[in-house]
Amino acid sequence: MRRELHAEWTKLRTSQGAGWLLLALVALTVAASAAAVATVSCPPEGCGHDAPRLSLAGVQLGQAVVAVMAVLMISGEYGTGMIRTTLTAMPRRMTVLAAKAAILTGLTLAAGTVAVLGCVLTGRLILPGNGFVPAHGQALVSLADGPTLRAACGSVLYLALVALLSLGVATAVRDSATAIGVVFGLLYAFSVLPFMVADPDWQTLLWRISPMNAGLAVQVTTNVSGLPLSPWAGLGVLAAWAGFALLGGGLLLRRRDA
């Protein structure tokens, strides 16, 4: 495993795009959060907004960068034919995939932490100017608050799970454009579906199994009992998706011709 990890790290370290993508992850996430918190205001009579969740809204855009990074990690190799060299040098294919997953998770957790801290800071700085002050019934966004800390940590984990889901999908479908399409379809298109059906039972069911809606439940800090799933259970749904995708991708990688 060490050899595989080292190989994957070297490949990633020496490729041009990875650094830029990590930078884009942090920049886009924080920028989108800043845009979201700048548009929302809280009048003196109070508002029903969930300030920590608003501050972390940029994760919805940041996950796109994470998905691109994860997909390119494997389908980039299919694109250039590098995958044949990789698999010749390291014939234990599952281990190769595990090494890729480990490197990817580590990088996403690191960059995701920076991005999420940036989001929390953005919320802390901008929201009070828009009326999110204790006098209007809104506490300042602070990591010392339990639910906020859970939302922030959960968001970092969410990004890592999105990375693993994307890696699994990309391993299964190989082509980068198709993989991105599938991942974005699963995340974004699926997330709107519960809002498009009229039946409440279907709505709840679709919400529970959609990776983005369920996964982002971890960001909710107010009215948690009103959610169809508890925050951690929601993240569990995404983890299940990521697990299935990785498993499916791994099995296909092992059985198929490269």
Binding site: A36, T39, Q60, G79, S176, A177, I180, G181, A189, F195
Partner: protein, 512 residues
């Protein structure tokens, strides 16, 4: 070789490239299948019924107006028949009412005095007592001054301002054949015309009289999962009329009263009834309801739930249509065969647009009629729209997919990398739509998103227009777009055109 012939040859070459890749053809068929299946699936999952005491029954359908749309026609009417030409003149001296407030303790009713902005009271000429029949009315409103309205979807503004004892409004509605003229005055001497309307096919004998009505008060709350929830609370409006005078062949002083369209409780008793009192020359009329378009129900575009799934698939195929050539080096052959590079890309755009349009059209032609039929069978009320609107929604859906495909193709040619192009196309079209319709963004920000981004094209699906003379939750999350349907689609097409132009310029300059 002539230029036109040359382009036809290019089109054929690109079409051959598309149709011989089995994967793409299958994927396009799958995109159509996804749109159809998701639409039918969500339609079959949507049930609606109304409680009538202990049993669930099909919900009562709203009446249809003279122009075919669903309407609310519920008001308190103090009236008498008028044969032939004639007029009614009244003075409105006050308009008051009450509004129910949100419960602080569940079940404990709180009301406050006040009138909602579109509470209405005034004079009306109606073609019989049937709900949904043609009418013309001149009225004072809660906060929009004097208005003349007819046939539920037409509205002309008169003088602004409210009414009081000190500042009354005189209203006069004159019938002459099928033409109705509304005049208003502050003192009963100097009159000004608010509007003249024609009610085609108005019967010889019509009902003429006084009315009052008040729509429910809308309170929009942020939904727990994002989006928003509207809540409508009971209101009623009371108006005092005096100086009532009738001209023409009426029944003189014999007034009848009717609570038109009043909701009945299961035991048959009227729910929130209106009232009429008369003391001397003063008529006091209290009413609940609205004379306006009816917008509650499913719209035909609710069968297009598969649009996002279809969009993602189409984007991927369109991107691959160009990036696959770069991957395999085919682009060099393509550009050798057609050294005028712009034309080669334009031919690709035409082919992908045509293929997507046909795919989208086929899917929408199936899912819209079949989906609405399923919805109806499940007890849902489908808001009726004209055939032209239905055609626009179906064709517009296909056009939206085609515009998205061209945008994706252009991004593919710009980036030359599939992953980047797909990510960019989805981030441009889908993410703004998502943020505008399901997120916690305020309505204003959401409206700007669907004005400025390529997601504006989703407006083409909106079948029920926003009515400026009716309070409603006109937000993207409720299916109301700030741009008109074709205007929204034009924004998406403009993005596609600009991206394609940029791609052509770059393709000419860059080494392949």
């Amino acid at each position: 070789m002539s230029g036109r012939h040359d382009f036809t040859r290019l089109l054929r070459a690109e079409w051959t490239k598309f149709r011989t890749v089995l994967g793409w053809v299958i994927t396009m068929v799958l995109a159509a299948a996804a749109v159809v299946l998701l639409g039918l699936f969500s339609a079959s999952g949507s049930h609606a019924s109304c409680g009538a005491g202990p049993v669930e029954i099909d919900c009562p359908e709203p009446p249809l107006g003279p122009e075919g749309q669903a309407v609310s026609d519920k008001f308190f009417f103090v009236h008498q028949p008028l044969q032939g030409d004639g007029s009614i003149t009244v003075r409105v001296t006050s308009m008051t009412g009450q509004i129910r407030l949100p419960d602080l303790t569940p079940g404990v009713r709180r009301v406050a005095p006040g009138v909602v902005p579109w509470a209405k009271a005034g004079v009306i000429v109606k073609d019989g007592m049937r709900q949904g029949s043609a009418y013309a009315a001149l009225m004072v409103t809660g906060r929009h001054g004097v208005r003349m309205q007819h046939n539920y979807t037409h509205d002309v503004a008169g003088r602004p301002g409210g009414v009081s004892k000190k500042d009354p409004r005189w209203l006069r509605l004159t019938r002459s054949g099928d033409t109705l003229t509304g005049d208003e005055s502050a003192d009963g001497r100097r009159w000004s015309t608010v509007g003249t309307v024609r009610l085609a096919g108005l019967s010889d004998t019509v009902e003429i009289g006084l009315f009052a009505t008040s729509p429910c008060d809308l309170l929009v709350k942020q939904g727990d999962f994002g989006g928003s929830i509207g809540q409508c609370r009971f209101t009623e409006a009371t108006a005092d009329f005096d100086q009532v005078s009738l001209q023409g062949r009426t029944s003189g002083d014999a007034w009848r009263q009717d609570d038109v369209g009043v909701t009945e409780a299961p035991d048959g008793a009227p729910h929130h009834p209106g009232r009429f009192e008369r003391s001397g020359g003063t008529f006091t009329v209290t009413g609940v309801g609205d004379i306006a378009p009816h917008v509650e129900g499913e719209s035909i575009e609710s069968t297009l739930t598969g649009v996002l799934a279809g969009l993602v698939v189409v984007v991927v195929v369109a991107v691959l249509f160009v990036t696959a050539e770069y991957r395999r080096g085919l682009i060099r052959t393509t550009l050798l065969a057609s050294p005028r590079r712009g034309r080669a890309l334009a031919a690709k755009a035409v082919v992908i647009a045509a293929v997507t349009f046909v795919t989208g059209l086929a899917a929408a032609c199936v899912v819209v009629p079949v989906g609405t039929r399923i919805l109806r069978a499940n007890g849902n009320y489908i808001l009726p729209v004209s055939l032209l609107t239905e055609v626009r929604v179906v064709v517009g859906f296909a056009a939206l997919l085609a515009a998205a495909a061209v945008l994706a193709l252009a991004l593919g040619a710009l980036f030359r990398r599939g992953a980047a192009a797909v990510a960019a196309a989805i981030a441009l079209i889908l993410v703004p739509y998502l943020l505008a319709t399901t997120s916690v963004l305020p309505v204003g920000a959401a409206q700007w998103l669907v004005r400025l981004t390529p997601a504006a094209g989703f407006a083409i699906q909106q079948s029920i227009p926003e009515y400026p003379y009716m309070t409603g939750h006109y937000a993207p999350s409720a299916g109301y777009y700030p741009l008109p349907p074709w205007g929204g689609l034009a924004v998406t097409c403009a993005y596609a055109a600009i991206a394609l132009a940029a791609a052509i310029v770059l393709l000419r300059r860059r080494d392949a």
